[in-house]
């Protein structure tokens, strides 16, 4: 093990190196660029022999990733915001073709108005695209999530692409102490790579991406759903294996002071850190408050979340994106898991990189305790 001062983006690039990514088509976009730049430097220094393709757009980044993955090599790309929106057509192709492409995403708001800062609108936009989605609170988690995600993505009972999220600027650019595990240990954990197809196997020609009529399309989609269901168990199983190396837990979500809490907040990514700091303060005052931080958003762990939150007096779900005209994405899922038994309040915070402070978390708990719960979104501005 090796502790290094690294930004989240650099930690991500290190993960890509250790995973042994072989083809990396990528297009720069703030705040993802330092991931691409970090990996480019690794290649320039000869620490990876990957083929880095500096494509002319994110659409081509994902298109080339599909080509490379179908040719049987370990493939990744990275993106943010508008880039993800541009490539979204091929995001669906990647999962439809069952290619285990790995994609770190630096979460960033979507235009218009244009904004380069963090919120989760970009990856929530593709939450139904058939990709595994894992969100990270810290650089450390981001690094480890990438390794776990690739292990699960390439599992022969899964074969789905995976996107691994980190909060743009907040976590991509902040320097943390990051524990990097030995290359050989990670290599051993990941095991060999058995690609779903190999276009370069000219003796066994394969057609990848045929035209499917109403008599077959439905079955392809059912098989994708089955793969996502398989991923549930395999995420847990592989998480337990990875825990033996890192000592960290890879459950669907992290519980922080949750088991005996009366009031709970549900929030993802870096803001969970802010919530934890405030929970520590409130706990010192004897308040029974806690946090549930979802990590794995697809597949979504309805049963497990229901179990973890049942019995709470009130719950606040803090979303960093909107689903205009409907419940915000995270709230919608938690509500689905819990039904109407527990009073729940939807909050939306941090759009376009607006800061959230521990006083805001304090206020949320106060409102929960006072029973200020209704059907309208409360804005944490």
């Amino acid at each position: 093990m090796n502790i290094k001062p690294l930004s989240g983006a650099q930690a991500g690039a290190e993960a890509l190196r250790q995973i042994g990514i072989e083809v990396f088509p990528v297009y720069p976009i703030t705040p993802q660029s330092p991931i691409a730049e970090g990996f480019a430097k690794i290649v320039a220094n000869g620490d990876s022999d990957a083929e880095l393709i500096n494509v002319e757009s994110e659409h081509s980044a994902m298109s080339a990733a599909v080509g490379a993955a179908a040719a049987g090599v370990k493939t990744a790309t990275a993106t943010s915001s508008q880039g993800l929106a541009l490539m979204s057509e091929i995001v669906y192709v990647a999962s439809g073709l069952r290619l285990p492409i790995l994609m770190p995403v630096a979460n960033r708001a979507l235009s218009a108005p244009i904004n380069i800062h963090c919120d989760h609108s970009d990856t929530m936009m593709v939450r139904d695209s058939g990709w595994i989605q894992i969100y990270a609170e810290s650089a450390q988690e981001f690094y480890e999530n990438l390794i776990l995600a690739f292990k699960v993505a390439k599992n022969e009972n899964v074969l789905l692409p995976a996107m691994v999220m980190i909060d743009g600027f907040i976590t991509t650019h902040q320097i943390e102490r990051v524990k990097l595990f030995e290359d050989s240990v990670i290599k051993n954990f990941l095991g060999s790579y058995k690609p779903p197809y190999n276009l370069l196997d000219i003796k066994n020609p394969t057609l990848v991406g045929p035209f499917s009529m109403p008599d077959s399309y439905f079955e392809f989609k059912i098989s994708q759903e089955e793969a996502m269901e398989n991923a549930r168990e395999i995420l847990v199983k592989e998480g337990e294996e990875l825990k033996k190396i890192t000592g960290n837990s890879y459950n669907y979500f992290e519980k922080y002071q949750l088991d005996d809490a009366e009031y709970a907040i549900v929030v993802m990514s870096s803001t969970a850190g802010t919530a934890k700091a405030q929970i520590d303060k409130l706990r010192k005052k004897g308040e029974k408050v806690g946090l549930l931080k979802p990590r794995i958003f697809r597949p979504f762990p309805y049963e497990e979340i229901k179990k973890a939150l049942t019995g709470k007096k009130a719950i606040a779900v803090l979303d960093r994106s909107l689903s205009f005209g409907a419940n915000p994405p995270l709230y919608a899922e938690i509500k689905q898991a819990l039904g109407n038994k527990i009073p729940m309040q939807k909050y939306v915070f941090g759009l376009g990189g607006r800061n959230i402070y521990d006083k805001d978390i304090k206020k949320v708990f106060k409102e929960l305790k006072e029973g200020k719960v209704d059907n309208k979104i409360k804005w944490i501005k």
Binding site: E22, V23, P25, D49, A50, E51, I53, N54, V55, E56, S57, H59, S60, A61, S63, A64, A65, V66, G67, A68, A69, A70, A71, G72, V73, T75, E89, I90, V93, L199, L200, D201, I202, P205, T206, L207, V208, G209, P210, F211, S212, M213, S216
Partner: protein, 301 residues
């Protein structure tokens, strides 16, 4: 075709193109020009929908279809995987060919092609140019010629079909400093085969732009595909030329240039122009100008 079949064709007969379609002829005659194994990419379009209907497959070589606008970046990914494997001891010598219609090349796929050419991937782009979105019923593309009646530029009481002349993709690719770009046609298979061999064997991004007369949408009898193709060249509407490292060679110079009327008179898409001789004259002028321009480019050594 018999010769191709005998040699275990890379692309099988029995595809679902319209009778009289030029596309299978193009695919077969391009792919059969090398002994080396080929991995193909194919953009969404006539070729893809007629050759990959699950669970059937006309391709006897590895082939990937991704989407409409990204065959160049998809094949770039495959070729990069090959480069990676080659660095690590893979010894097979594979060639890469990307097929697209004019929509997937001149229009929606253009950016990906430009990017792949700039980056110098080692592949051949083969455009089967049927001058419009024919697979979806005949909408106008950037390759549709002036005056053509299409579903999105219909001839009516006021409009006389497409109001703009077609884009010249061949020269745009030459401007990318491609080592080999050629225009070919199916009525001259000897010329087409020679060009296909050159394009595939030349290292770097190369292109073949091949006119694919479309019986269904252009509106001519299926038996006349080759005749229409021939007229396109004899009228200088579709000159056969190649550009090798920037040097132009016009391969066929008609002994007696035929008027454009002879090419368009046989096609329903131009039928309305009989009432608008000035439009035919306009098209003739464009053809003449482009032909002169091409001959001048050839003179420059």
């Amino acid at each position: 075709m018999a010769e191709v079949k005998k040699n275990n064709p890379k692309y099988s007969p029995g595809g679902r193109t319209c009778a009289g379609c030029a596309i299978p002829l193009i695919v077969n005659n391009v792919l059969s020009q090398t002994e080396k194994p080929i991995v193909a990419g194919v953009a969404t379009g006539c070729l893809e929908v007629t050759s990959t209907i699950y669970p059937y497959n006309a391709w006897n070589i590895p082939c990937i279809h991704n989407a409409f606008e990204n065959v160049a970046s998809t094949i770039a990914g495959v070729e990069s995987a090959f480069k990676y494997r080659k660095k690590n001891g893979f010894e097979e010598k594979i060639k890469f060919v990307a097929f697209a219609g004019d929509g997937g090349a001149y229009d929606i796929g253009f950016q990906a092609i430009s990017g792949a050419f700039e980056r110098g991937h080692d592949f051949t782009l083969v455009v089967y140019d049927n001058e419009g979105y024919q697979n979806t019923g005949g909408q106008r593309s950037g390759a549709t010629p002036l005056g053509a009646d299409t579903t999105t530029t219909p001839a009516g009481k006021v409009k006389k079909g497409k109001e703009e002349q077609r884009k010249n993709l061949t020269e745009i690719l030459v401007a990318h400093r491609s080592p080999y770009v050629a225009q070919a046609a199916i009525h001259d298979l000897e010329d087409l085969k020679k060009k296909a061999k050159k394009a595939i064997e030349t290292k770097g991004p190369t292109a073949l732009i091949i006119l694919a007369p479309c019986t269904t949408i252009w509106g001519f009898p299926p038996a006349k595909t080759l005749e229409i193709s021939k007229l396109a060249t004899e009228t200088n509407f579709w000159p056969l030329y190649e550009v090798e490292n920037g040097k132009y060679i016009v391969n066929i110079k008609p002994a007696k240039e035929k008027p454009i009327k002879e090419f368009i008179n046989q096609q329903k898409r131009f039928a309305h122009l009989k009432d608008y001789p000035e439009k035919i004259e306009e098209l003739q002028k464009i053809v003449n100008k482009e032909w002169k321009r091409l001959l001048k480019l050839e003179e420059k050594k």
